[in-house]
Each structure stands twice: as C-alpha cells, then as structure tokens.
C-alpha cells in the first residue's frame, strides 16, 4: 500500500503545482477540482471517511461549481504567463516544503491526542459516531461559529454590490433536464439518509447540507437555463424568500437556544442533558443541514440583481 500512498502524494503535488502554474485559468480550475478529488482519496487513506465525503461534496463539487461559474463571468480567462523567475522559483517551495516535512518526522511516532477522552465520554454524548460527538457535543461551539461564518460570508458577498448573479448557461439538448429530474430528488433522499446515519457512522449535517445544496444548485442551473436570463428562476426566489431566510439562521439559532437552555438548566453553556442529548443533537443537525444547504446555494445563485 505504500506504493499507492507514494503515487497519490506525487500526483497531488504535481496537480497542485500545475493548478497554480498554468496560465490557462480553465485548466487551473479543472486541476483544482482534480486536486479536491485526490485529496478525498488521501483522506480515505488517512482513515477519515467523514472528511473525505465532505471534501468530495464541498471541496471538489461546490467549489468547482463556484469556480466554473466565476470563470464564465470573467472577460479574460488567461493569466499572464509565469515569468522565468517565477518558473525557477518553483523549486523553492518544493525544497523548503520537503525540508520542513522531513523536520517534522519526529511527529510520526504515536503522540498524545484526545482520542481516549472522546471514546470514554461517548456514551454520555448522545451519539455513537465519534466525529459527530466532537462536532455537535464536545466542540459544538466551533460548529456554531462556523455556521456564523457561512452566514457572514453570504452577508459579505451581498455587501459587495448587486453584480454577482450567475447569468446561467444555454443547454444543449435535454440530457441535463432529464438527469436533473432524476438527481434532484435522489440527492435530497441521500442527504436525508446521510444526515440520519451521522449518529452512528460517517455522515452528518455537513455532508447532508452539501448534498442538499447541490440539489438546489442543480435545479437552479437547469431552471435558469430553461427560462432564459430574463426570468428569474423560482428556486432562487424560493431561497431568498423572507420566510425561508429564517431557516438560514435556523442552525445558528438552534445551537444558541439549546446552548442557553443548557446553561439555565445547569449543564453549562452549550451543554446538553445527557438523557436528551441524542434528540437535541438530531434537532440541531436538521436545522443546521437546512442552514448549510440554503446558504451554500445562495452563495452560488446570488440574489439575482445585476448592474445595468
């Protein structure tokens, strides 16, 4: 298996270098998507199936969609060629990074971690899957703040001005239409399944939210393409309806309400009553899934207003 790791490591470095080196931006973007896919393989090799799932859905999938949509809006899709100095200087990160990596080899030995503490308290946490326990119980405050980051990334994007709506594609043939009719319900179904199984196996709110966001985005692309640019797609209006916007905040609010309730009931801020922890976590996860999905989709679709 060491051969697989070596090959994977070498490929991923080459792909990353190509992604940054090429002056063809489309190639850059494609390379970045490949980079994300390779990363998820690395995560599998490192026994991290949860992050592998998230990397495929978010790091390669959603980021790829965002990048491609952005690329289609740029007038110039060629960057200046790397200068001779830049080309030669590419050796520096390789050597420096290699030296840095070799100097870290003392860390290969097993070292203290929080693994034992995570497993010892897992019966109290309300879920069986350790990653979900960390995300939604032990370190729930990180996750709450991360939902805030999503929220403010959207607010920040909106604050830039109204030119950010993606103008859509022209469809060639009906393949994508029929494909989306199949995929959108399937994605929603899989999202529900992934959310549910997060309690005892890899999965959970992040992966489910990303899948659901993909469903929204796919539906949006197809609908916008069918309607043409003049008509705003219903799906975009749905996402930005004021009542749905309350759902955007749902994840954050669920965290905060449960967190404060825990404080008032004497379990500490962000603490849950052990007996109800499983149910509370599921409730927060459902709210968080919708928040993540809607905000990620909104980051892609924009609010639909443009200059001119």
């Amino acid at each position: 298996m060491i051969i697989v790791d070596l090959l994977l490591a070498l490929t991923i470095v080459l792909v990353a270098a190509r992604c940054l080196y090429t002056s063809n931006l489309a190639e850059s973007v494609v390379m970045f998507i490949v980079f994300g896919l390779l990363l998820s393989l690395v995560w599998v090799r490192l026994y991290a199936p949860d992050t592998a799932l998230a990397e495929v859905a978010i790091g390669a999938g959603l980021a790829g969609a965002l990048l491609l949509a952005t690329l289609s809006q740029l007038h110039l899709t060629h960057a200046a060629k790397a200068t001779a100095m830049a080309r030669i200087s590419l050796i520096i990160p390789v050597l420096l990074g290699g030296a840095l990596g070799v100097s870290l080899l003392s860390l290969v030995q097993p070292a203290p971690g929080l693994s034992d503490l995570v497993m010892n308290n897992i019966t109290q946490s309300g879920v069986e899957h350790p990653v979900t326990a960390v995300l939604l119980n032990y370190r729930a405050w990180d996750t709450a703040l991360e939902l805030a980051i999503l929220m403010w990334a959207w607010a920040a994007q909106r604050a830039l001005g109204p030119n950010l709506a993606w103008h859509g594609v022209r469809l060639q043939g009906l393949v994508l239409v029929y494909f989306s009719r199949l995929m959108v319900p399937l994605l929603a179904l899989v999202a529900g399944y992934v959310l549910w199984q997060g309690a005892y196996a890899p999965g959970g709110a992040f992966q489910a939210g990303a899948l659901l966001a993909t469903a929204f985005i796919l539906a949006f692309i197809v609908q916008q393409a069918q309607l043409g640019q003049a008509n705003p797609a219903v799906i975009r209006r749905f996402i930005h309806h004021w009542a749905v916007k309350l759902l955007w905040l749902g994840g954050l609010l669920a965290f905060f309400v449960v967190g404060l309730a825990g404080l008032l009931l004497g379990y500490g801020f962000m603490g849950y009553a052990p007996a109800y922890a499983g149910a509370l976590i599921l409730a927060i996860e459902i709210a968080a899934t919708f928040s993540i999905a809607l905000i990620l989709a909104a980051l892609f679709t924009g609010e639909g207003r443009r200059y001119e």
Binding site: M1, A9, V13, A16, A17, C19, L20, V29, F32, L39, V42, W43, R45, L46, Y47, D50, T51, I58, G59, L62, A63, L67, T70, L74, H75, L76, A79, A80, A86, S89, P93, V94, L96, G97, L100, G101, V102, L104, L107, V108, P110, A111, G113, L114, S115, V131, V134, R139, D142, T143, E146, I149, L150, W152, A153, W154, A156, Q157, F206, L299
Partner: protein
C-alpha cells in the same frame, strides 16, 4: 517510512506550493486557489496526526470538517470580490497591479 511520514512531507510541500502561488502568481484566481491549497495542506497535517492513533483520533476529523466549510465560505467571498475587481479594472484584469 510509513504513510504518515509521506503525508506529513506532502502536506508541507503543498503548503509551500500554495504560498508560492499566493506570492508569485499575479492573477487573483491563482492567489485564491493558492490560499485554498495552503488550507488543504494544513488539513493534511491534521489528519495525518489523527491517523497515528488506533482508531483514528476524531477531534482533528471534526476540526477539518469545520475548516472545509470555512474554506468554501472564504472562497465564495473571494471569488465574488475578484469579479468586482475585474469589473472595475480598466482592462478587465483580475490582478492587483493597478491598485497602488
């Protein structure tokens, strides 16, 4: 050499490569992708450290999941900002050359 050593070195190289992209490439898309590659490199170190334990340490897994969502949020903002920079620039160039 085991797989952890391989990925520690790969992560370090990727971090420096990403930094090279941020510093040496002019186009903003390259800079944005460079930052993301730096982040992925840090995630790789986290997960390599997690893989030392048996079973794998769940805390870094959760941290990386959080980090991935943070990274996509930052990327979405950065791409939107890049579009505005390109729009405002005279030659539609998405670089920082004319901002001094």
């Amino acid at each position: 050499m085991n797989e952890i050593a391989i990925y520690l070195i790969t992560g370090s190289v990727l971090f420096c490569l990403g930094l090279w992209g941020v510093v040496m490439r002019e186009h903003l898309l390259h800079k944005i992708l460079g930052v993301n590659i730096m982040g992925s490199a840090a995630f790789m170190l986290f997960l390599a450290f997690a893989a030392r334990a048996e079973p794998a340490d769940a805390v870094p897994h959760a941290l990386v999941l959080t980090g991935i969502v943070v990274a996509i949020s930052a990327m979405a903002l950065a791409l939107a900002l890049m579009k505005r920079v390109a729009k405002e620039s005279e030659q539609h160039q998405a670089t920082l050359e004319d901002s001094q």
